[in-house]
């Protein structure tokens, strides 16, 4: 395996007796886009700020390109950062904002002007050079902030919830733009977000964090389809959790309510009589018996929500409720509350949460 470009090694951060990051380790490959995903207070921003140098780790070290930067000041790290609040300098024009880091680095005016023009072309705002930040929309300001961060050619790009202050449409277009620029430049990037859709859509890998620890570090596909912990399963995507009891561990039989499903090969370590939490993504469930689905459960429809292109249906199975989406078909009337219903799924899609 190649040498990691960024290596965060057993980092801990405490404020007095309050530990906000505990024993966090992560290796990031050159050019990789890694997202830190988690709820507020999980420590994701603190780890990012330690990489930036704004916070000093209480223990552990941070290595970039083989060099220990743990004790370096932020202005000695050659790291670019984009902030949630844009943080453009209000007294400077767009061009002066982008040129700020270049001037600090001692670049000549001619070279700096050339680089600023390149950056403005890259973010597709070449006509904005002489505007002031207050004359720009939020999306434009954040693109300028991205250009300013990238202009001095940093070794590492840190993005601290850069899309949170923007409206939904701009958020989607800007995240795609960020990813495309990152790929083009091949710059190693850490992206902090609490929005799972953002993280899933643009990351090479995601570190899902909770309580100051990384619960799972994996590709978006693995995080979504093979969550390592109950927290990851619940936090990422919508999940139906059913309580089940192992009736026959050897043959993988589990009882849900009064019905039985077979989960052969998935009950590693469980004994007959154990209680389990079983999880199913809504998209893995179909209403009615479907070919190719080896398991089914029957229940009663408790709620129906018409959402336009899809209809969200909730089915009560004993004490459990399962949520699933079906496509709206003008020829078929939506199911009615109180109807008996059969749901089917592949046992291989069922997750056993420990």
């Amino acid at each position: 395996m190649a040498e990691p470009f960024l290596s965060i090694q057993h980092v801990r951060k405490s404020y007095g007796s309050n530990t906000v990051v505990q024993d966090f380790s992560l290796d990031v490959e050159p050019g990789e886009f890694v997202s830190f995903l988690g709820p507020s207070g999980c420590g994701k921003t603190t780890v990012l700020r330690m990489v930036a140098g704004f916070e000093e780790p209480s223990a552990g070290k941070i290595v970039v390109a083989g060099k220990d930067i743990t004790r370096l000041k932020p202005n000695q790290r050659n790291v670019g950062m984009v902030f949630q609040a844009y943080a453009l300098f209000p007294n400077l024009t767009v061009a002066q904002n982008i040129a700020f880091g270049l001037k600090v680095a001692g670049m000549s005016k001619a070279d700096a002007d050339k680089r600023v023009a390149e950056m403005l072309d890259m973010i597709k705002l070449p006509q904005m050079a002489d505007r002031y930040p207050y004359q720009l929309s939020g999306g434009q300001q954040q693109r300028i902030a991205l250009a300013r961060a990238i202009a001095p050619k940093p070794k590492l790009l840190l993005l601290d919830e850069p899309l949170s202050a923007l409206d939904a449409k701009v958020r989607v277009s800007l995240r795609e733009e960020i990813r495309s620029i990152q790929k083009k430049l091949g710059i190693t990037t850490i992206f902090v977000t609490h929005d799972q859709e953002e993280a899933l859509s643009i990351s090479d890998r995601i570190a899902v964090m909770y309580g100051g620890k990384a619960e799972q570090v994996a590709t978006p596909f693995e995080i979504y389809n093979r969550p390592a912990t109950k927290f990851v399963a619940n936090f990422v995507g919508t999940l139906n959790v059913l309580e089940g009891k192992v009736t026959d561990a050897a043959s993988g039989k589990v009882q849900v309510d009064t019905q039985e499903v077979s989960l052969k090969g998935k009950l590693n370590g469980s004994k007959s009589g154990d209680t389990l939490s079983l999880a199913l993504r809504p998209e893995a469930i179909s209403l009615g018996l479907q070919p190719g689905r080896d398991s089914s459960l029957s229940g009663e429809i408790s709620e129906v929500h018409f959402l336009g292109s899809v209809i969200r249906v909730r089915v009560g199975i004993g004490g459990n409720t399962v949520s699933l989406d079906t496509f709206n078909s003008p020829a078929t009337p939506p199911p009615a509350v109180g109807e008996k219903a059969e749901i089917s799924f592949s046992s291989s899609d069922m997750l056993v949460l420990h």
């Binding site: 930036a52 932020p74 202005n75 943080a87 209000p90 720009l136 939020g138 300013r148």
Partner: protein, 263 residues
């Protein structure tokens, strides 16, 4: 007209009369030096007096140095308190208010005892030393105004994020204060500077007790010995103060606008 509006106008007219009638009376009196006609004789005498010119120039120079000293002390201090020591803000605010509570005469007597020619720091042993002590004293007197003006300016910007943005781009503290913070609070600093200027121009106690040839003691001296010239001087001093206030208003229009607005 509603009765509320009527009484509002009454209060406004009474207030305006209270303010403007003495002012107009002073202006009118200052124009009566030549018997029987209105003239600017008093103004000509005052403006032509070499002592007016020298004392006024002295006070202007003292004001400029006071402003520079005030900015050098207050801007980094207020910035650092906002950035790193917000818990100290109430203490610092209290300290900056002390010059309003402690009379200038107390401060200057303290200076005379502390910095006399026999003390280890004999500021009063030379003219330059006494001038420096006067500027230091003026900076103390102006502290409540300068600190509040700068602190208000800092409140309008996101000090922490702008600092971090500049730091991560490679800037050191000098660049951050000089190129990011100061330009964004420049209008607030100028407000503090003009208030300082207005205080220094008319200050009497410190200049008199430190025996400095400033404008304040000159005003007092003229007032004690002449009839029409003090009125002309009062109007001139008033015009200078109002000029400073107007400049604050004009300059505040050029303040950098906040970039933090929703999309």
């Amino acid at each position: 007209m509603k009765s509320g509006k009527f009484w509002a106008w009454v209060v406004f007219v009474v207030g305006a009369a209270y303010f403007f009638i003495p002012l107009m009376a002073t202006v009118e009196f200052s124009l009566r030096m030549r018997r029987g006609v209105h003239s600017f004789d008093a103004y000509q005498i005052v403006l032509g007096d070499p002592r007016f010119q020298s004392t006024f120039l002295y006070s202007v120079v003292a004001a400029v140095f006071t402003i520079i000293l005030g900015v050098l002390i207050v801007v980094p201090a207020a910035y650092w308190i906002r950035l790193r020591l917000p818990q100290l803000r109430p203490v610092v605010e209290f300290i900056t208010l002390l010059p309003l509570v402690i009379p200038a005469i107390v401060i200057v007597f303290g200076y005379i005892r502390m910095y006399g020619s026999n003390s280890p720091l004999p500021f009063l042993g030379s003219n330059m030393g006494a001038n420096a002590l006067l500027v230091i004293g003026y900076a103390t007197l102006a502290l409540p105004y300068m600190y509040r003006a700068v602190d208000t300016g800092l409140r309008t910007i996101d000090v922490r994020t702008l600092t971090e943005a500049a730091q991560i781009l490679g800037a050191g503290w000098g660049t951050i204060i000089g190129r990011v913070i100061l330009p964004n609070v420049l209008i607030a600093v100028l407000s503090g500077a003009f208030l300082t200027f207005a205080i220094v121009i008319g200050e009497f106690t410190m200049a008199s007790l430190l025996n400095r040839p400033a404008f304040g003691p000159y005003l007092q001296n003229i007032g004690a010995n002449r009839a029409y010239e003090p009125a002309a001087l009062a109007i001139i001093a008033f015009a200078i103060t109002w000029g400073c206030m107007s400049l604050i208003q004009i300059l505040s229009r050029f303040a950098p606008k906040s970039a933090n607005r929703p999309n």
